[in-house]
Amino acid sequence: MEHYSLKINGNVYETDAEPFESLLDVLREKLRLTGSKKGCDEGECGSCTVLLDGKPVLSCILLVSDVREKEVLTIEGLPQGGEPHPIQVEMTERGGIQCGYCTPGIIMSAYALLQENPRPSEDEIRFAIAGNICRCTGYSKIVEALQAAAGTPIR
């Protein structure tokens, strides 16, 4: 076991972990930040997507030892002043959520996109979430919700 000070959602978390543990397992099992989901644990489904220094990464294939000195943002860190982020609101209100298991990963990928590209096209939105598998929605309502969050026209 080694000791880690992790910067997550603007806070510093102190924890002991094995260096070979994934960031996802540390978030979920040690820090009890369970919003990031484990859908495959092999970097294929995107449910574990978090932001590392502003870039979307798959936390299930990232070692905890590789995130020292970096800023991690998880789904729990998105609300500001107790209010849900607009992406979270639009996903809720426009039917972008069914079972909800892919939802945190989708929202984090979308958040990263909108930080870089505040008014993305539909193709850019679809590309940004192409690594996030959703089995329930067929993606249409997710795309709509993200267009609404970006303030771009909805098809």
């Binding site: 069914q98 909800g100 996030n132 598998i133 959703c134 089995r135 329930c136 929605t137 067929g138 309502k141």
Partner: protein, 336 residues
Amino acid sequence: MTKKRGLGVGSMFYGIGYGFNRADIGSAYIEMADDGTTTVYSGACDMGQGIMTVVAQVAAEVVGAHIDTIRVVAADTTSTPDAGPTSGSRATFVQGIAVHEAASDLHDQLMQTAAGMFECEKDELEAHNGDVYLKGANAPIASLAEVAARVHLLGGRCASWGWHDNSTADVDPETSQGDAYASYGWATQLAEVEVDTETGHVKVLKIVSATDAGKAINPVAVEGQIQGGAAMGVGYALYEQHILDQGVPRTDSMAFYLVPTSMDVPEIQCEIVEVFDPKGPFGAKGIAEPATVPTTPAILNAIYDAIGIRITDTPATPERVFQAIQEARARGEFED
């Protein structure tokens, strides 16, 4: 031109519920607390498709409450009654009626007490969004919370339960003749595809789904299920395949078993058709499985329309389509 486009349709019917004499029940408890908030103990599991929301909508409608005052307790053998499985596109159709029954009885209890409070007959009263009105009046005479507090103060019953049996008789064992299901879902889909005749790759450009929901209790939820069902149909028709080698799975990772991504699923246009079903709650029926079934035949028929070749084995992978094109070329039957 190496890319050819085609259109295809697929229709289907789907027996709602379990059918042929399999247990097919719904049930729920309902109670209103002193402050007018309602809890529905609904035994129907919500996998994300939205039965908890449908239950809340039915309860709010029938009790006359505001939906934000309804809490739905998820299925639990200790706290909710047995409502059967959530499968067979049966939850709204069967559980919707059980909740309707429970909520109707609770509504009656509340109106009975309100009638006593205001010295009128209960049939002269109605409730909407948490308020009680004399029928037709614009201003409420009381809130449901006030009425509920009164019921509890008087030691009255402010709870009920509903139960609904959707079971049918079995079909004849020799001929299968009989009323196999209480009702059927109906759907037709249109698929537009583009087939690359150099690679065999099929791209679905568009799906239009006309799905009979009976009555869409929550239209956005209905559309979401239609779109998700069609996406699963796209996967079945074109991509997804469990490959076994001597009975041992070789596709035991998401790296090898491919489900459609946001780049693979096209625009899915939902055309909700509402043919009132007299057996369903508010005329509604299930749509979860009718959403999935027509997609694959529509895509296969569209592939035929595009290239004049009928794919008879699923999935229509690039390898399979390309091989079929090559065979047709060899026979001189393919128009490049």
